[in-house]
Amino acid sequence: MTPDRADHRDLIAASFCQSLRPLLVLGGDGAIAAASEGAGWLLGWRAAELAGVRLEDLVVPADVLRNCRGDAPCGATGLLQVQMRTAPGDLVPVEIRCSRFEQGGSRHCLLFLTDLRQRGHEDELRAVRLAKLSLLNQVSEALYGAHLSLEQILQAVLICVTAGEGLRFNRAFLLLIDETQEVLRGELAIGPGDREEAWRIWSDLAGERADLFAMMTTYDRSVKQTDTAVNAIVARMGVPLAETTHLLVRTMATRQAVRAGLSTPGPGVEAVLGWLGCAEFAVAPLTTRSGPLGVIIADNAFSRTPISDLDLEFLQMFANQSAAAIENSRLYGELERRLIDLRKAHQKQREDQETLMRMERLSVMGETSAVVAHELRNPLVAIGGFARALVRSMGQDDPNRQFAAIITEEVARMERIIHDLLDFIRPLKQTRETVVVDDLVRETVGRYLKRLEEKAISLDWDLGSGGAAVRCHPGEIQQVLENYLVNAMQAAGDGGFVTVATRALEGGVRVSVADNGPGFAPDLADKLFSPFFSTKPTGSGLGLTICAQIVKSHGGVTEAVNRPGGGAEFAFILPLPKDDEEAGPGAGVTTGNGL
């Protein structure tokens, strides 16, 4: 035997002897060859004194293990439950397991003893552990499975900490790091307000035997109204993160749940005990991979049950689960917000693109129309010009003269359409002046006084915009007004009435021209300003379209209504200039050339 192997054997022998597990080795003669420290403890002997004692002297009933010896099979298989006699003479329930082995040419038997009195306590602990693990699993499923809002998750977390089916603390307080990232602040709390209430709630809950899921969903109606007192407490809780030595802040840094009471030293303990008004509490950090979220504080203020290691262990495990769920919910919320933003941006982009395409199409159409219109002008001049010459050269009674006259009229109509079309397409000039609306109306309508008189149309002035001024291209606005006026004169007919009115509105000025003509069919109201729509046999249908375009380019709107007393009223509203648009006189310069 080498010295090494001898050392090794000594080591094993020493380990055996020192073991706190109750172990016995039987020799071939059925006497105890060696006993561990644990066996000595169990049987009340000093371990060394057990050597040489016969096993059957220690076991009751003695015959159970009579044949159990190293050199022969004892006939017992598996586990044996017996009573063993201790040195003071007591009987202890013990479970024995045999294991045979050979050593140095002789057979031995190793006996594992289990104190059955201990077994009961261990089983109970194991059962509690299992129940709580199963609970954690349930909670985890509830937190992840159901689509809960952040608020609901926070409530569920506190319910689990306090529920009888859960961690069984009396009260739970949740503190989260606020959005400034500077303060740990009380957020939510659950628990009874005083001892009486605690008893009532616990007995109610025991009667209902609600499971955790049901409690999480029925929380609102069952417990919430009683939480005013604890929520008043939680509202007072707040610790600046800069106080790194404060117990709550420190707990987040160490990521380890702690228990603290009146005798616990260190900053922060007294403050928390003061808030809670009790002698002991537990703190568990809520931490995620991205950093700390806050802490859960739990206590047994009413039952005064001491907080055990197991309670602390589960509070920590539960806090980890909760932190992950809270983080998840926050990320989910963030994701949802970004998705909405993205959707909005996408929608806007699509709309912009559609607008752009529509404008492009219109622009191409406009250019094409302009080219075609111009190309048509020359042949029309020739056709119409010669038709006029024919009309002139024919006698009054020549039957063909009427036909030539028709050509003349139709060509004139085509030229009018082209003229309107080219005016419509031509971009409007952007030089604007500050103009007093009433002055512009007075001047423009003034040019028609003679024609109104010729047709015996009476004109009513109703200028009431009180000197309001707008930024506009006066020539264009005059064109709109003239168009309205000519339409009104046609509608009113000889001997009719036309009223020109102005009114100051909030943020704008309204100019209207009304007549006492037949008005228009109500279903046409929407079409009046559409291109190529006309109620007149000779109209091009572009007059009002151009008006609408001009008014729109000034940021205004056009209106057409039938008056209650008969006749139509056409109006436009121009916006008053915003403060930054105000320009001095003469700022707008119109260019042009005379004939």
Partner: protein, 123 residues
């Protein structure tokens, strides 16, 4: 009798303007291109030129510049299908700007007005 030169690439329009102006009592001559028009201005000494703007080759605006470069210049009426040339300052030097229309009276009246004011300024 005043002599009016009509410059237009469209033969039918030349015929129409010739007919109407003669009826109104003017002597006329016509050119189908701006180049020929400029030559006639020099050789035929017209009292007034009616210039189309859009023509193949030299256009009316360029022809107008050539006419303006000469001393003792002849009055010019721009007669075009395009109202948009009014915004081109090069056209402002013309004595009148008429948009083409089947109703030639506008053109004839413009001829009379320009010739009258020319006579008035000479006397």
């Amino acid at each position: 009798m005043s002599k009016v030169l009509i410059v237009d690439d469209e033969p039918h329009l030349r015929l129409l303007y010739e007919t109407e102006l003669r009826r109104a009592g003017y002597e006329t001559l016509t050119a189908g291109t701006a180049a020929q028009g400029l030559e006639y201005v020099q050789t035929m000494k017209p009292d007034l030129v009616i210039l189309d703007i859009r023509m193949p080759g030299m256009d009316g605006i360029e022809a107008l510049q050539h006419i303006l470069d000469r001393d003792n210049r002849v009055p010019v009426i721009l007669n075009t299908a395009f109202s948009s040339y009014r915004d081109n300052y090069l056209t402002w030097a013309a004595d009148a700007y008429v948009t083409k229309s089947a109703d030639v009276t506008q053109l004839v009246e413009a001829v009379r007005e320009v010739l009258d004011s020319r006579l008035a300024s000479r006397s």
